[in-house]
Symmetry: C3
Subunit: 347 residues, 3 copies
């Protein structure tokens, strides 16, 4: 396919770091230490794989300062080999360029604005009052409602829906199946049935946010749902109405966040975690996979409750005992906060 080749000299000219050893041999791509061949550059970011330097067939390797003398092959020495690896992959695999223009089979409202350098693909729909920034790409089968803002250089993969009034910042990446701004889950009980609470807030998403496939972010009830700059959301995450997620927080797949919960900056939330609504998580909190967060967290640190699996026969015995702990070890004094479906308030 005629991928580009780069020498070590060319790579460090672009990305920094120090090239050690033969710096003029052409390299055609990036690979892991195990699968690399002589035309690949590999990387060592995790010390536990150091022994693989002895056996790799890689033509060059990205290492940290402590590994400068390990192995005989050409090296790039850098303070952060993993981030350097990320940038090296991007060098070998540049994103396809945006091709300015609106496909003749897209439907762009006469009162929408699409910057001249933006790309709108086939069967996209852009509603009145929406604005698509310079260098942005709106994939096939996307729908932007009315009054939607898409920042410069943001890319919506095919089949993303953004409801009326929601906005995304610049340089975001949104994968297929994402729904931004559907109604939050709000209703009031009245006379034995449910009255819908119209959801009239919006969703505001910052710059440099990535959103994984089939993730959903609900619009706010009265105020907005807010996703901070640099947040990275994996696939199939549910963000309830009026949540606020702080800058540079990352959340792994299948996690669900109930309404009106606030998450701080620089948090790392594992996969399939559940957070109840109306709580607040401070900055720099890590939550491990399949935990259930039922109250606010005010101290940075790591929190857990996912129970590791074990052989079924062992589990039968332990789970049954757990069910009658109260009969074997005495009574408890602490209450368990349950998740209430509806707290009867929207703030």
């Amino acid at each position: 396919l005629g991928s580009p080749t780069f020498t070590l000299r060319q790579i460090v000219a672009r990305l920094g770091g120090e090239a050690v050893g033969e710096v003029e041999a052409p390299l055609s791509g990036v690979a892991s230490l195990d699968s690399a061949g002589p035309r690949h550059i590999a990387f060592l970011a995790n010390p536990k794989y150091r022994s693989r330097l002895a056996t790799t067939r890689a033509g060059a390797v990205i290492v940290g300062p402590g590994d400068r003398d390990v192995g005989a092959m050409p090296q790039i020495v850098t303070d952060n080999p993993y981030a350097y690896y990320a940038r090296t992959v991007a060098l070998f695999h540049p994103q396809p360029p945006v091709v300015a223009g609106i496909h003749p089979f897209a439907q762009v409202d006469g009162n929408a604005y699409v910057a001249p350098g933006a790309q709108v693909d086939a069967f996209a729909v852009i509603g009145a009052g929406s604005r698509v920034g310079e260098g942005a790409r709106i994939g096939s089968h996307c729908t932007l409602g009315e009054g939607v803002t898409i920042g410069a250089e943001t890319r919506l993969h095919p089949r993303v829906t953004v409801y009326d009034g929601c906005s995304l910042g610049e340089r975001c990446i949104v994968h297929s199946g994402v729904v931004i701004g559907a109604d939050g889950f709000g209703m009031a009980r009245d006379d034995g049935h449910w009255v819908k609470i119209p959801q009239v807030g919006a969703v505001r998403i910052g710059d440099d946010v990535e959103i994984g496939a089939n993730t959903t972010i609900d619009r706010g009830a009265l105020d907005d749902t807010v996703i901070g700059d640099g947040v990275k959301l994996d696939n199939q995450i549910q963000v309830g109405h009026n949540c606020v997620i702080g800058a540079n927080t990352v959340i792994a797949g299948c996690t669900g966040i109930s309404g009106s919960t606030t998450i701080g900056r620089d948090c790392m939330i594992g996969g399939a975690v559940g957070l109840v609504g109306h709580i607040s998580i401070c900055d720099r909190v890590t939550i491990t996979g399949m935990s259930f967060v039922t109250k606010s967290i005010t101290q940075p640190g790591t929190y857990s409750s996912g129970l590791p699996s074990m052989p079924h026969a062992d589990w039968l015995r332990n789970a049954a005992l757990l069910r009658k702990l109260d009969r074997t070890t005495g009574h408890a004094r602490h209450a368990l906060p349950g998740e209430d479906l509806d707290r009867n308030d929207d703030d």
Copy 2:
């Protein structure tokens, strides 16, 4: 944007309740007690926020009878302030009207029927034998298969798929990414591989049902999957084949319901709950978030098993102890029902 304004007098004329104090001042919207300004109407539904009445800048407030004398600002007094709030928001934010007509870029089969007052948006596909009721709206990129029925005033947001033969009642709201009537997960083991069991039932959905973004409801194997009137489903819920969900039950996001499980009326099921297949939950059951329901529930009440998170170091100790409870407290007598993937029956 020229939103409507209403005075207290006008609001109670439309929605009932009693207006107290200045009733002629124009109000321009609804806000929470904390964020309201003098042109907003706020509401007090949860007594724990009563103290905010002293500090709110709201121009008026919706309260229950017990709060009639609290605070000096104009009030609407009503028995159910939360439901009243819901209706007030709807008054200030009416839904956009349905604009009758079929977009020239929609594909409607010649043997489909679309009521004259229904709206079909760009790039929608409607198959043979399908019927779209009066005042319904079919959003962009929706696909209705063959023989689908959409009741009057039901709104499908963009990008909803309804497979052949499924039906929705009147006044439903279906959000983007919803899939109704995909095949249930049924197969039979034979000679070391899996034989697909064709799923020939359908999905029947009642009136006044709301379905959140990216929720999926599978068609039945032989008989239908049934969703009762007034059911409210949040985002990313999975409803397996041949489930039956009773009227006015609400289910929060990320919950998964395995096949052939029946849920009664007026239940409240929290987020990320799992229910195994082939069980029955009676009416008026509440299940808190992240619980795992492994057998039928025959008594109304609240049920739980989600374990709250705690600091990781504490969790390490407790989880490890849990894994050997059987060695510290004796043996169990009760079995744990596991979820079987396939019960080898379809009724």
Copy 3:
């Protein structure tokens, strides 16, 4: 609707087995023992339902050899009644045939190849270098990126997205909302923000794979994500980058598999299970619903950790006691592997 009718003699002529009793009566469909009428054929696959043979109104029944003499109605006797039932349903309900041709409102790139016997529906998009095999069907609103391969007789229901370079084998069934090949969740921390690791592997899917609605399968970071022949995935499953799933493994809905995890052949994974990344599950492992798998499994068998729900008051006591097990029964010696979001390696 003019469904076909078959006699027992005709059924066994096509599907094998032994017909016993009246073999010439026309049957019009398949039903469960409970709901069948005299024109239906029912089946008995689970011995616990044997008593229903006495009361069913079915015109015929499929049974195993041990039930040959149970009940007076005509029978088909077969070694595997459940698989026979599956094939009988398919006989009465054949799939709609593929209608060769490209809809005039589909967008097929001039450098894509669509076999003459394939069907491409309205508003589908097929990119340059993609190939659609003989007898395949690409539903409405599907997008195939560039260089995608769809094997013969594979059916994509409406609204499936396949990113660039991914491939599906023959006779697959892919339901609406599925996203194949979105970017894996990979990033490197650098100077307080996250650097995206371009995901340049693809997804390779074997033959006879079924993928349920709204399931997502991420592309690999450097190498490919691989789904083996005969794998069956239910709805709303998340498969992370670089996972490998062995042949004939079945996974129930809402399960999440973190990146770089390998699952063997003939495994059965229940609903809402979470698997951390970078582990390996051997062949013939069963994992029950809502378990959390935190380390590799090297022995076939059944594994669990989902805690069954109980009345909330009991749960309050037991969960509170669990939280202080370490203070009641001594200290633990075993560590709990947490899920790390990012292992700093991509192999």
